[in-house]
């Protein structure tokens, strides 16, 4: 269902768009195994034209899908992780960050910006799972906090797209407190009566679920996304039983009353815009 006449999109998007999507001319759907043209897949908002499987995509793709003509001003684009704890596991944390930056071209696990979405000024922050599992450290917390500040200052609606395995262990206590920081900012946003839509994508777990991802005025999700506090492996080990089919899927979470609706990625832009417009 479409709320607006959809404009042709994504045609002039830069080539790095395909960072998370498989390269090459053909795309094979990991779900139904059918093959389609990469371009066709991209035009379909990176969903399978056969089975509607939603391919995992990152901030570059979401920004191109959501901001009109892919025009937006990025916030805090150069912020990177520090290493306050001098954390070393099998590798020193700064090395891990540096090599991930090299591999992904990203600075950390979230990007934020503002621009127009169907002519409506909005602020959007979007997580990148490719960056250390979309884990939340100081950069993620701080960038989301500042995106909310921008939303407050300009009185523009806030859209958060989550995709994360949870905490950045290498920032330990600092990582934990980002849950508190983002919650504090969202409390202020709420008080200012600026709408906040939280989109949960595959997967959203741990501290992200237990903070900003579940604090939306509207919590929505993409079809089939895994959403939970504890990960499925941990739960399986705790209860010593296999988990029922569909457990922790977006559909399961909707059925249990924790989501407002599930949105097809092809309708995301128009549906979220409609919602924001209704609240003006």
């Amino acid at each position: 269902m479409s709320w607006f006449i959809r404009k042709e999109k994504g045609i002039n998007t830069p080539t790095e768009m395909k960072r998370e999507a498989p390269d090459g001319l053909w795309y094979q759907c990991p779900n139904c195994k059918k093959v389609m043209h990469t371009r066709e897949h991209k035009m379909n908002a990176y969903t399978c034209v056969h089975c509607n499987y939603h391919e995992k995509i990152g901030s570059t793709e979401y920004f191109a899908l959501l901001f009109d003509d892919n025009l937006f001003t990025e916030l805090d684009a150069n912020m990177t992780s520090a290493d306050p704890l001098h954390f070393v596991d099998t590798k020193a944390y700064p090395e891990r960050v540096k090599s991930t930056i090299g591999k992904t071209g990203l600075k950390d696990a979230v990007r934020s910006g503002y621009g127009k979405m169907n002519d409506l000024e909005v602020t959007i922050a979007c997580m990148d799972f490719n960056f250390i599992g979309g884990s939340m450290g100081s950069v993620v917390g701080e960038k989301i906090a500042r995106a909310i500040d921008h939303s407050l200052k300009t009185r523009t609606p806030f859209l958060m797209i989550s995709r994360s395995g949870g905490a950045r262990m290498m920032e330990a206590g600092f990582s934990l407190m980002q849950m508190a920081k983002t919650s504090a900012k969202l409390a202020l946003l709420s008080e200012a009566r600026i709408p906040y839509v939280s989109l949960l994508t595959d997967p959203t777990t741990g501290g992200v679920t237990a903070s900003f991802a579940m604090q939306g005025d509207f919590n929505i999700a993409e079809p089939g996304a895994l959403i939970g506090f504890a990960g499925p492996r941990v739960i399986r080990e705790t209860i010593g039983k296999n988990l029922p089919e569909g457990f922790q899927s977006a559909e399961f979470v909707l059925e249990h009353g924790f989501l407002d609706f599930i949105v097809d990625r092809k309708d995301l832009k128009d549906k979220v815009t409609s919602l924001f417009r209704m609240l003006e």
Partner: protein
């Protein structure tokens, strides 16, 4: 019977010798008072030495000591009256989260916290201090009740984490914690949060947004337990000691990094060595802190609480 941790072994040995010496004195009528006195001095010296040089992992062990005082122990030792309140008004009562109004030093306060069990049966009943969503919702209900009647809130945290179960997920464990985090920032009454044992992850934070967050000396507070951190980063359970070191999860660390506001000292030998003294000192700290917080207006408290947590984090720009 007392439980000794591995690093307390030398103390245990000396204490066993002391017991024997006293027994010998009784049966043989030999005067050993001088030897006993000197042994007692040695024991207290040794204990002080060991407890002044604890590693982070040893503090984790102490935080889990089976004789450590739990939330209800503190309540009964510190308070003149306590009326326990139950239930989240939606699903059920969660025995892993307890709370109610109490009389503390002549004033009414709301005290709530996670609760562990002392023996096998209790431990199961309390779910090892791991709350379900109902627990977090009960905690929020009690906090709102305290706010309504303008009573300060004291929370006590001792949990290995929020319960990772099937029903917990069905009933929205993530949503329950997330709601508490947001709501606690708007509470108009003073909020003091104290880590009294284990402070694991979101399950701890879910009742730990306060004007003052304090940690007892031998506790830990971090994003994950050292065992789970070891399993994920080193792919083996065996690196828990390194993980504890790397995460800098002790009270001293957390205070140094500005992630908690202060440390509550424990008696030498740990909180479990002297419940009464521990509770006496904690009461003193709470009353003193409340006095400080009462000097601020509700608006000042809320904005300082928000600013404090918003300043946490280190980035490069």
């Amino acid at each position: 019977m007392r439980t000794y941790l591995d690093f307390e072994r030398p103390i245990a040995d000396l204490e066993a010798r002391l017991v024997e010496m006293k027994k010998l004195a009784e049966s043989s009528n030999v005067d050993v008072s001088e030897a006993v006195a000197s042994l007692e001095v040695s024991i207290s010296k040794l204990r002080k030495e060991i407890f002044e040089n604890l590693t982070r992992w040893q503090r984790v062990q102490l935080s889990r000591h089976p004789d450590r005082p739990y939330t209800l122990d503190y309540i009964s030792l510190m308070c003149d009256q306590f009326i326990e309140l139950h239930g989240d008004r939606a699903v059920r009562d969660d025995p892993a989260m307890v709370g109610g109004f109490a009389e503390l030093g002549g004033q009414t306060v709301m005290i709530l916290g996670t609760q562990k069990g002392r023996n096998t049966k209790q431990r199961q009943q309390r779910n090892f201090g791991m709350a379900n969503p109902e627990g977090y919702r009960k905690a929020l209900r009690l906090m709102k009740l305290a706010e309504k009647f303008n009573k300060p809130i004291i929370t006590m945290i001792d949990t290995p984490g929020a319960f990772p179960g099937l029903e917990a997920e069905e009933r929205g464990q993530g949503e329950a914690i997330a709601r508490n985090l947001k709501e606690m920032f708007s509470l108009k009454v003073p909020v003091i949060c104290i880590i009294i044992g284990e402070g694991a992850s979101g399950g701890a934070l879910g009742i730990a947004i306060g004007d003052r967050v304090l940690m007892l000396e031998n506790t830990w507070y971090s994003v994950i337990s050292p065992e789970n951190c070891s399993t994920i980063l080193w792919r083996s359970w065996d690196y828990k000691e390194q993980a504890a070191e790397a995460m800098k999860l002790s009270a001293r660390d957390m205070e140094k990094y500005g992630l908690v506001d202060g440390i509550v000292e424990e008696p030498v030998g740990g909180a479990h060595a002297d419940h009464a003294e521990m509770a006496r000192h904690m009461k003193e700290v709470i009353l003193h802190t409340l006095e400080e917080l009462n000097r601020l207006s509700p608006e000042e408290r809320v904005s300082q609480r928000i600013d404090k947590f918003c300043s946490m984090g280190v980035v490069v720009e």
